[in-house]
Amino acid sequence: MLPENLKEHSAALAVDAFDADAIKGGKFEYDELTLEIAPAKIASVCGFLKYDQKFIRLSTVSAVDRYPAEPRFEVVYHLHSVERRERLRLKCRIAGTEPAIDSVTGVWRGANWYEREVFDLFGIQFRGHPDLRRILMPDDWDGYPLRKDYPITGPRV
């Protein structure tokens, strides 16, 4: 369901018309539009936004750990339309046990390294990713450093 206050934003309306079940919520704060997308629909919504709505660039993919709340992780996509001079943030909430989400590498090849980074630092699996390996940390590293239960100093808890 698209929240009432987002009806004036054309990108939000377009996604709503494309697949009304995909939108779980959203907000417009600090002049930035955020849409919350159902995790199962992320790849199709991204494809629609890229090819129909001209969001041809994926600026970055990142994640936020809401530990100990559930659903624990937020995967955040920042999209950019050069032609419309617009930016859009998509957000998917996924559970903390065996976190996984569909990869968007099929839409933008550039998602490859960004998803690897999220996998490396948060331990979120991306289904359908062509080359899901650690990218910044050593391959034999144990644990996911950007998780909130990973200590910044001292022994692991």
Binding site: T60, S62, W108, G110, E117, P145
Partner: protein, 399 residues
């Protein structure tokens, strides 16, 4: 780390794997490229990064907002002020602070000097990699002048941390105008000097023209930004597309080329240097007066004199230094145009004095991703010229 795999033997040709770099942590470009070669041709290229990963994004979470400014310098050590600016703009957006005009113009002027600084290092090292030693010495001569200007402003040559949340760290020093003017009076002729050495140099043209092509569609898809994309004809520049810090008040052009090779990227950066000089001149001559930090006593440290004479100022000082200031809940993503491309800071605040999460979208990370697409199918001798034209900083990539 990627292991070296035995190349698959196909047909009659013999393939070999060549490992390029890194030699030493302090060499420029701590990057490893695994290249599978068929004779002189590159069949497959796999970049391996992470050698300079220092966990800066994690460290943000245990620093308060003001302390974290010093971390942003260390991300991209050739463009510290661009990183300062992107971070400060993001936090200021969360706080909804109004920045006085003088601070905004100072920020524009100094980030443009940063662009000159970064492009000079790029030009010097890029030319050195290709074999033109002289250019390096010339570029570093002018870079030294810029570093001295930074030192004059902030007391530091490289890790300046000069932009703070709410304005500047210190009052602009006495005599800054004359100092920068002396530099700007000679600098355009120095750009001509570099051009004399390179632009019509037959060796330079031979090594760079037609080398390192990658289509515009590929670049947009692979998250490449900055001079790379402008050399392919797309005038994408955050300073024009979504002006920040009063850039809309400046008159400048976004240089583009259409040849989309290493030579075009060189020409774009040279022209960007000339445009930066234009912006710095306008900023100097039109510098507004007034305050250089925001009127927000709970965020900005009070003047030293007030702190010693006014009780209230002393309390604010104590609170900011000991516990920082609270930033409201919310999330912002601000983008600035760093010398390398789109630099974005995604900051999530949770209402406390520490950022809940900071993600840096650094231009070098996105650009490096396109290396395989750019060099696969080309000759091994062109790799250095091709990746040099990307102008990446590995600290910026690995964070």
């Amino acid at each position: 780390m990627t292991d070296v795999e035995e190349p698959q033997q196909q047909g009659g040709g013999r393939r070999m794997v060549l490992n390029m770099g890194p030699q030493h942590p302090s060499t420029h470009g701590v990057l490893r490229l695994l290249m599978e070669l068929d004779g002189e041709n590159i069949v497959k290229c796999t970049p391996d990064i992470g050698f300079l990963h220092t966990g800066i994004e994690k460290e943000f979470e245990v620093k308060n907002y003001q302390q974290a400014v010093t971390l942003t310098d260390r991300v991209d050590y050739l463009a510290p002020l661009s990183n300062n600016l992107a971070y400060c703009l993001a936090v200021e957006k969360l706080l909804q602070l109004e920045i006085p005009p003088q601070a905004q113009w100072m920020r524009v002027m100094l980030t443009e000097l940063t662009r000159l600084n970064s492009h000079l290092v790029w030009l010097g090292t890029h030319a050195l990699d290709i074999g033109a030693m002289t250019v390096f010495l010339y570029c570093f001569r002018e870079r030294e002048e810029i570093l001295k200007i930074f030192e004059m402003f902030s007391g530091q040559r490289m890790m300046t941390s000069y932009f703070r949340i709410g304005g500047l760290a210190l009052e602009p020093p006495r005599g800054w105008y004359a100092r920068i003017k002396t530099f700007l009076d000679v600098f355009p002729s120095r750009i001509d000097e570099y051009e004399n050495l390179l632009t019509n140099n037959r060796i330079w043209i031979g090594r760079t023209k037609g080398v390192g092509f990658i289509s515009l569609e590929d670049m947009l898809d692979l998250a490449v930004t900055g001079p790379m994309i402008r050399a392919a004809g797309l005038p994408m520049d955050a300073r024009k597309d979504s002006p920040y810090s009063s850039y809309e008040k400046f008159d400048f052009e976004v240089p583009t080329r259409t040849e989309n090779d290493v030579y075009a990227r060189y020409l774009v950066r040279i022209e960007e240097m000339r445009q930066s000089v234009r912006i710095v001149r306008q900023a100097m001559d039109g510098m507004p007066g007034g305050d250089w930090k925001a009127d927000a006593p709970h965020v900005v440290l009070p003047d030293r004199e007030k702190m010693k004479t006014q009780m209230e100022a002393l309390i604010y000082h104590f609170k900011i230094v000991t516990e920082g200031f609270r930033v409201p809940e919310g999330e912002v993503y601000t983008v600035v145009e760093s010398p390398r491309g789109e630099l974005g800071y995604y900051i999530v605040g949770d209402g406390t004095a520490n950022p809940y999460r900071v993600h840096m979208r650094t231009p070098s990370f996105g650009n490096l991703q396109a290396v395989p697409r750019m060099v696969e199918g080309t000759l091994i001798a062109d790799v250095i010229a091709a990746i040099g034209s990307m102008d990446f900083v590995l600290g910026d990539t690995d964070r």
